[in-house]
Subunit: 129 residues, 2 copies
DNA sequence: CATGTTTTTGCGACTTTGTTGCAAAAATAG
DNA sequence: CTATTTTTGCAACAAAGTCGCAAAAACATG
C-alpha cells in the first residue's frame, strides 16, 4: 500500500508529516507508541503534531489502538477490519493481530450491549519461544 | 468480608490508610480509580500513599486492574480468581466482572504462550439499557 | 506496656503522557 | 497566482504516577 493514495482515499491533505508517519507505520509490523514514531522520524515533527496525526488516523480507521497495562497506547495499521485479539510479547515487545483466533463465540449475558471490545493477551511469541 | 482479617491473611500491616482504602473497595461494586478512592476517603491520605497501597494490594492479589482506553487504571476487588471478561458501561461507568461468560474457547495459535489476558468490552449495561 | 526495630507515611520535587490556544506556515481550490 | 482553509510549531499547561527522604506509626519482643 502506498501512503499518498491512502491519504487521498481518506480525504486527508498530503502534508509531509502525515506522509512520513504513515510510512513509518507501513514499514513496521509492530505496534508503535508516539515516542517510537518520534525516534523513527528523528524528531522531525513536533510532538503535538504526531499526537494530532495519530488522532486523525484513528478517526479515519487507518490505525487502531492497542491498550496494555502500564504502557502508553500503541497503534498498528488496521489491515483487517474484523474484530480480533491482540498478542503482546513481553520479551521482544512485538504486537500481533491474531485475526485467526475466533472470538465470535463470546456471548454477553442478557441486557449487555457491546459497542467496542479490547482483547489483549500477553506472553511469549513464537519467535522468542 | 472484613478488612482487618483480609489484611492479616495477606500479611499486611494494619495501618489506617490500608484499612480505609480496603473498606472503600468492600463498599463499592464498581472499579475505582485512584482519584475516586481519594474522594471517598476525603483526601485523608496522600496521593502517593494511595498509589502505594494500590500497588501492594495488587501484588497480593486483593484487587485487580481494569485497563480501558483513555482512562486511568481502575481497580476492583478480586472476588473470583477465574479469568474473565470485564464489561464497562459507557453511560454509568460501572465495571462488571462477567465471570459467567465462557472464554475457555479462545485458543492461541501454535508457538504463542499466554501469561496474562485483559479482555474488556464496553457498551451499555442492563441497568442503563 | 516500654522500647528498639521495621515498615509506612507525607511531603515535595520530578518525569512522562497528552492537550490546547495561537500565530506562522503550508496545502488546497479556483 | 492568489485567496481560503488546514495544519504546524511553539509554549504553556494538566494530570497521572514515581521516588528519596525524614518523621511517624506499627510491630515484635521481653
Ligand atoms: Mn489488530
Ligand atoms: Mn474482574
Ligand atoms: Zn517476542
Ligand atoms: Zn450502565
Amino acid at each position: 500500500m502506498n501512503s499518498l493514495a491512502l491519504l487521498k482515499s481518506n480525504k486527508l491533505s498530503q502534508t509531509s508529516s502525515r506522509i512520513d508517519i504513515l510510512e513509518v507505520f507501513l514499514e513496521s509490523d509492530t505496534g508503535l507508541t508516539e515516542k517510537e514514531i518520534d525516534e523513527r522520524i528523528d524528531s522531525k515533527y513536533d510532538r503535538a503534531t504526531v499526537y494530532r496525526t495519530l488522532k486523525i488516523f484513528r478517526e479515519k480507521g487507518i490505525i487502531h489502538p492497542i491498550i496494555a497495562e502500564n504502557e502508553m497506547t500503541r497503534y498498528v495499521l488496521k489491515k483487517d477490519p474484523v474484530e480480533h485479539i491482540h498478542f503482546k510479547c513481553e520479551l521482544c515487545g512485538n504486537v500481533f493481530c491474531l485475526t485467526e483466533v475466533n472470538i465470535s463465540g463470546i456471548k454477553l449475558p442478557k441486557g449487555f450491549i457491546k459497542k467496542e471490545a479490547n482483547f489483549l493477551i500477553s506472553g511469549m511469541c513464537p519467535g522468542c519461544n
